[in-house]
């Protein structure tokens, strides 16, 4: 079994670790050199998730863990939960990433979007005792939908994410502040208006302006 290097499409067969009982911290040349470490910002997280889905690749999982777990913990702490809760939710999120890696295949989003959404929903479930309702995939029956998923598209997805990230840093502070209050401080738009002591209409228009410009950027990129 072979897979191909993503960077240059040169189709060089590479050795792959298929040992399910793989011992962590062992050096794995494939993942360290060929695909993943050419450039830190170029790590293809989608590819790592596919590796988990297809080959239960523990090294790929460890790479994901090292990037995402500390950020997830930081997020949960920021929302006001305790250190213990943050550690637990982080671990639960990463276990879900492992278990649901196969579901990512049908997802059109970047790895970061998928993983952080799992983390957010874990936090919501934790606070509510009831599962956060998510739109069921089957409800949107699109006969014409074709599965175009290839590694090239995945690279594009990851690139889109990085571009959007850049776009968000360019938002006016008053807009990004409102978004941060929503994601990190658990405030509804009504609560944000009270907290900042600004009219509801102002909060709504900040949200609208921010999301519209991000959406435009997304459309332009696709």
């Amino acid at each position: 079994m072979f897979f191909y290097s993503l960077q240059d499409n040169s189709k060089v067969p590479v050795y792959k670790c298929t040992d399910n009982n793989y011992v962590p911290y062992m050096n794995n040349n494939v993942l360290n050199n060929n695909v993943l470490n050419n450039n830190v910002s170029q790590i293809n997280y989608s590819f790592l998730i596919d590796e988990i889905a297809n080959n239960q690749n523990k090294q790929a999982f460890i790479k994901l863990f090292n990037h995402f777990a500390p950020r997830i913990k930081s997020f949960v702490l920021k929302t006001g939960l305790s250190l213990n809760e943050a550690e637990d939710l982080t671990q639960e999120t990463m276990i879900t990433v492992w278990n649901k890696a196969k579901l990512f295949k049908s997802d059109k989003s970047a790895a970061s979007t998928w993983i952080f959404a799992i983390a957010r929903n874990k936090r919501i479930d934790h606070l509510r005792r009831q599962k956060h309702p998510l739109p069921h995939q089957d409800d949107l029956l699109l006969a014409s939908e074709i599965d175009l998923k290839t590694h090239e598209l995945e690279l594009e997805k990851e690139q889109t994410f990085n571009n959007i990230k850049l776009e968000i840093t360019k938002l006016p502070k008053e807009q990004s502040d409102v978004l941060k209050k929503s994601f990190f401080e658990g405030m509804s738009h009504i609560e944000i208006s009270k907290d900042l002591d600004i009219p509801l209409g102002t909060v709504k228009s900040r949200i609208r302006l921010a999301l519209t410009s991000i959406r435009k950027k997304m459309k332009g990129l696709n």
Partner: protein
């Protein structure tokens, strides 16, 4: 189904970030499950949330964190396929699967008034989630709300303040809204409705009296 009336951006953000109670969240999730446009907006919101999270300073984990996770992964049962519970319910039309987790096998219908029956799905977090069945041609007397009202049409349709709401359409009303929805003439209208339970305190009879007094 191509819904024409959608939740606003700020409601979609509240929903996705987990800042809405469960009952209205279920309505918004159900609407999004059948609406391309709102799914696009949700994608935008999700990528925004992820980008903000990716920018956070990385906190240090417990030293045995990774080891714990790997142990748990190794020790869990192999079969972790996600199963959906396909409830057979007593409704005569197709219901989005998003609702499956909340539909009891048989709905307990209660009369709210001569033309409206309701069946409760969730009572939690200060909001109720009910299915309303409005008799064909019935017009709910003019009324206002003391809180918020979230609605999505499941089957049939109604006209309210000269605006038509068909299957999939979403409506959000606050305490300033005065309305009097009228169901289609040819069939009963089924809606998902979530209202602040403040209204519920007056009980079904009180609610009915409220309705006719207005």
């Amino acid at each position: 189904m191509y819904p024409k009336h959608h939740p606003s951006y700020e409601l979609l953000l509240d929903y996705a970030a987990g800042n809405l109670p469960i009952a209205p969240s279920v309505i918004i999730a159900t609407h999004c499950s059948i609406c391309h446009e709102c799914r696009d907006t949700l994608d935008t919101i999700n990528i925004t949330g992820a980008a903000l999270m990716d920018d956070l300073n990385a906190d240090s984990l417990d030293t045995d964190s990774l080891e714990n996770v790997l142990t748990k992964i190794n020790n869990q049962p192999k079969d972790t396929e996600i199963k959906y519970d396909y409830n057979s319910n007593s409704l005569t039309f197709d219901v989005p699967k998003t609702l499956n987790n909340y539909l009891p096998k048989s709905l307990k219908w209660k009369n709210l008034s001569s033309g409206v029956k309701t069946a409760e799905l969730i009572a939690d977090d200060g909001f109720n989630l009910d299915i309303y069945r409005i008799k064909s041609g019935y017009k709910i007397p003019k009324h206002t709300h003391t809180g918020f009202e979230y609605t999505m049409v499941l089957d049939g349709g109604f006209t309210d303040n000269q605006i038509y709401f068909g299957p999939g359409d979403f409506s959000f009303l606050d305490d300033t809204s005065n309305h009097s929805p009228k169901a289609d003439l040819d069939r009963d209208c089924y809606c998902l409705v979530s209202i602040d339970s403040q209204i519920k305190l007056t009980g079904p009879i009180g609610r009915f009296i409220n309705l006719i007094n207005n």
